[in-house]
């Protein structure tokens, strides 16, 4: 909602400043949106299917207790696969934390969720090519793992 208001305000300001530029910008933006729409639909269908197939309590059960390094790896994998907005992911992280899931596991999940995108790969490939998309996602996965390790170090979770 706020986003819509911000956008409308920007359009009005831009229009007041320069009609031609604004129209060109609107046209360009809409064209770009239509170009990306097919890849977007594929991503949405895959994400919905994946979320529907995984039972909800399986996620929290497999992330707490047991081997925390394995759980962190699961977090990395889940975060790389999932597509969800921050206003869902962080409340979820808070819930998991309350259930005793270590910070390093939560960080592995939220960090890879934001940085790595397997389902958005087709879109990234379309913009920058396969090689770049592959390298950037791999590097981001490594960074997420290092962030998780740093969390484990700072919060004293590395040793059981």
């Amino acid at each position: 909602m706020e986003f819509l208001l911000v956008t409308l305000a920007v359009i009005v300001l831009s229009f007041a400043a320069d009609k031609g530029k604004t129209l060109a910008g609107l046209k360009g933006g809409i064209r770009k949106f239509l170009n990306i729409l097919p890849a977007l639909m594929v991503m949405l269908i895959l994400a919905s299917l994946a979320l529907a197939l995984v039972p909800e309590d399986l996620i929290s059960r497999s992330l707490s207790g047991g081997n925390r390094y394995l759980a962190a790896l699961l977090g990395l994998a889940g975060g790389s696969l999932a597509v969800m907005p921050g206003f869902i992911a962080f409340p979820l992280g808070g819930i998991l934390r309350n259930q005793g899931v270590p910070y390093m596991v939560i960080a592995a999940f939220t960090s890879s969720l934001m940085m790595v995108g397997i389902l958005t790969f087709p879109v990234e490939k379309q913009f920058f090519g396969t090689r770049f998309a592959l390298v950037r996602n791999l590097v981001s996965l490594i960074i997420s793992a290092l962030v998780a390790l740093a969390m484990g170090l700072v919060f004293g979770e590395l040793l059981p």
Binding site: F3, L4, V6, T7, V10, I11, S14, K21, T22, A24, G25, L26, K27, G28, G29, I30, R31, K32, F33, I36, L40, L44, A47, S48, L49, L51, A52, V83, P85, G86, F87, F90, P91, G93, G94, R97, Y103, I106, A107, T110, S111, M114, M115, G117, T120, E124, F127, F128, R131, F132, V135, R136, V139, S140, I143, L146, V147, A150, M151, V154
Partner: protein
């Protein structure tokens, strides 16, 4: 059945955000002169260009799907590949609305540790990725 319901919900969310995001991107492209971005973000623009993209990443709204077209626009406007890569990283690491959510649910120390680890790693790796792939990319 459940898939359909989730799909409808996800579609609704995307329908509310993405058209706005793309309109903002379109306006950004219409207003921001290539020369300005080149000066701040081009090859040989120096370390200050990384400050610019961290700032830009911080104010990016929405998920990676929104950052990708912005990054593509930057690249087409003449920004260096390493800087474009740094922008993608920064938009994933230090988006302001996301950070606010994170700090309120997981605590400020969590956010500080993540920033202190991820930002230097993003900057270092972006320089590496940019140098390695610069000459092997298709023209934008």
């Amino acid at each position: 059945m459940k898939t359909g319901r989730l799909l409808a919900k996800n579609l609704g969310e995307m329908a509310a955000i993405l058209p706005c995001a793309f309109i903002l991107i379109g306006l950004f492209e219409a207003w921001v002169k290539r020369e300005t971005v080149e000066k701040h973000l081009g090859e040989g623009a120096g370390w200050k260009s990384y400050l610019w993209v961290i700032l830009l990443g911080g104010i990016t709204l929405g998920p990676m799907l929104v950052a990708l077209p912005v990054a593509s626009a930057l690249w087409k406007k003449g920004a260096a590949l390493s800087v474009v890569t740094a922008y993608l990283g920064a938009s994933a690491v230090c988006r302001i609305p996301m950070t606010i959510f994170e700090a309120s649910y997981l605590g400020v120390p969590f956010t500080l540790v993540r920033y202190a680890t991820a930002i230097p790693l993003v900057l270092l790796s972006s320089v590496g990725v940019g140098r390695a792939l610069r000459d092997r990319m298709l023209p934008p």
